[in-house]
């Protein structure tokens, strides 16, 4: 018994040192050396393409906020949550308030999904309100991605279809012809990795950066 305890205590110290700190410190060291960019969050001038941003907050002179850029998927917090709060106080998550409906919760930095069940009345209501929101922006047939929250609440990508349905909105606000926007989306579309892993996607930071470069 005493021997067991002594052994355990020594083991705890050695194991914590080796498999916790040594493993992680060497991991950080080598990662920083070999993959400096990735290891620090793949950060570029305008943010990280891995983390969704608040595109709906973009000021578009003469047009509704955000209509001059492509949007991502709704967030669980922020005004989307405010929409939820209006309809169902029980499921209201307090938010920073500065967030916009259709991007990940970039400000708080915390991740989260709605966790609403498939037969949730709240999810149904929220979805209906998001459909209405999109229709208000001139997107008549929003795709499922655009009215549902992602698993992380930080999804930086949308599908090419999700981008296509926004062409009319963006074209209207920016004056860039639809065909040119279509070509831009095609150009920015990543095919599935290795051709079959996951699905084709468009990264919003890349797409909107390219869009800004056009205008």
């Amino acid at each position: 018994m005493v021997a067991h305890i002594r052994r355990s205590l020594i083991s705890v110290v050695v194991i914590t040192a080796v498999f916790g700190f040594v493993y992680m410190f060497i991991g950080v060291g080598i990662s920083q050396l070999l993959f400096h960019h990735q290891a620090n969050g793949s950060i570029t001038a305008n943010g990280s393409p891995l983390i969704g941003q608040d595109w709906a907050a973009t000021k578009c002179p003469g047009h509704p906020d955000g209509s001059c850029v492509f949007h991502g998927r709704p967030d669980n917090t922020g005004p989307y949550a405010a929409v939820v709060c209006a309809s169902n106080a029980k499921n209201c998550t307090p938010s920073s308030g500065g967030d916009n409906p259709l991007v990940a919760n970039g400000v708080s930095g915390s991740s989260g999904a709605t966790n609403l069940g498939p037969r949730s009345q709240t999810l149904l209501t929220n979805t209906e309100q998001l459909v209405a929101y999109w229709k208000g922006l001139g997107v008549d047939n929003p795709t499922p991605d655009l009215v549902t929250t992602s698993g992380s609440g930080l999804d930086p990508d949308i599908t090419p279809q999700d981008a296509m349905v926004q062409i009319a909105m963006v074209s209207d606000a920016t004056g860039i012809p639809a065909s040119q926007l279509q070509a831009l989306i095609n150009k920015e579309t990543h095919s599935a990795q290795w051709g079959f892993l996951g699905a084709p996607y468009v990264n919003l930071l890349e797409l909107n950066t390219a869009l800004a470069n056009l205008g």
Binding site: M1, A3, H4, R7, S8, I10, S11, V12, I15, F19, Y23, M24, G27, V28, I30, S31, Q32, L34, F35, Q38, N40, L50, I51, Q53, D54, A57, T58, V69, R73, G106, V107, G109, S110, S111, A113, N115, L116, P118, R119, S120, Q121, L123, T127, E128, V131, T143, P144, D145, V147, T148, T149, S152, G153, L154, D155, T159, Q193, L197, G198, A199
Partner: protein, 562 residues
Amino acid sequence: MGLFLTILVLVVALGITWRYLGSYMANVFEGRVRYLAWAERPFYRLIGTSPEQEQSWKRYAGSLIIFSAIFLGVGYLLLRIQGSLPLNPQHMGAVKPALALNTQTSFVTNTNWQNYGGETTMSYFSQIGVLTVQQFVSAAVGIAVAIALVRGFSRRNSPTIGNFWVDITRCMLYILLPIAFVAGLILVGEGAVMTLAGTATIHDALNGVTQTIPRGPAGFMGAIMQLGTNGGGFFNVDLAHPLQNPTAITNVLYIWLTLSIPFALTYTFGKMVGSIRHGAALLSAMVIIFGVWVGFTSYAEHTNNPAVAAAGVHSTVGNTEGKEVRFGDTSSALFNVSMTQTSDGAIDSASDSYTPVGGMGLLTGMMLGEVTPGGTGSGLYTILVYAIIAVFIGGLMIGRTPEYLGKKIQAKEVKLAGLAALVMPLVVLILTAVAVSLHAGRAGPLNSGPHAFSEILYALTSQGNNNGSAFAGLTGNTAFYNTIGAVDMLLGRFAIMIPALALAGALAGKQIVPAGLGTFRTDNGMFIGLVIGVIIIIGGLTFFPAVSLGPIVEQLSHGKFW
């Protein structure tokens, strides 16, 4: 098509792993791999043991319990005082007592249930010195128990079943560490963060938004958390987070990491008992159940979410609620099924928002006792328990005292196997009943209707099976759920491990009966069928009523919303 090719890649990769990692692990545990002996030996000397000093099952279990208990205590303490410890750039405060208890229990039991939001609760010190360490240790402890049980079969008239200290050391040193290290580098290369520099704040000139990006040593933690079927840790949304699971490639790599050891252990088993066919038989039983569950869950997730459909949105890309675009519907389902059937419990999409049948796939995957392939080690020792029950019933049906690998299955073995198989359903059902009966328990669910029941049932099933996956709508960070969850996880882990070790001891002491034509074959299709039958029947019969009040009724309630 993408799903099939993804599966094909996984099948090939896992096939190779099964053969070579499986064989390698057998060599490690039989002491034939020595290249790190220079590191091993001093450690054994330090703690006063050696590979030659074998233990009886009781001493083995004693070492395991005391070791785990001390780790539980030390980890709890570290979480409580994390505010005063270094490596805390975000100045996280102490973890509250109930949460610290739940969290450390969760990591010691290989559950990795998260009642905390990783990036908002844990300091780097805690992530590294408490959580990551346990991801190595708890996996190694599980594997050690499995190996001890395998020795029970492979040895003849032996009073000992191995040395606990040597087994966990070799496991961490030769198996977990090298693989995790290489995988960690690949993950970082693909975009997983790996830094101790704290959050980054950036300003996007394009939209005028300032954003805080959480960072940390997520890449290497992700590697070991998946390899050890731990499944939780760094971020609140776990592997749905783009900074830990940035691409479809990392998604598949995580699946491979998770499935590799549990599947390969069947080869290790086959090699150690001298019959690869026996390992392949268990593998087949695992793969068949796993395949069926992947099939129907992916199919269900390829249909639209009922609420989204009711809102008038048509979907050709399945249920997108809670899923990331870069993974897609079916690969997300493949991921979550892989994680619920391995006791890993990581998610890359919100399980709570799965379709009723999809959610049922995840829930029932755990209810089958985490054996297909189950957790690192725990999957093998638990399926061996089921195999013993299958052998017993099947053996009777051919008119012989049942034997498995030449070991007679008699009253003692049936008692221990029965006990091990009994614990999980018993604990899960009773604790769920407690939770739904008390005000504190009823306060947990986010959703209402049958889904509320599903959330509670899912939480206690997950913890009772040391899985850690969650219908995350449940507010688990309460004194009630933290405590009940800790009880659930401890019983689900140790109340199965101890009988499994006792079984190892009982079997090791036995004579080996040579097989003949009259012996019940335990390496053919019929046996595979019987093992599958026992797994499905024990899980199915015990949980059918409960599941019928959750996902089943949800599925049958067309057009109804709560």
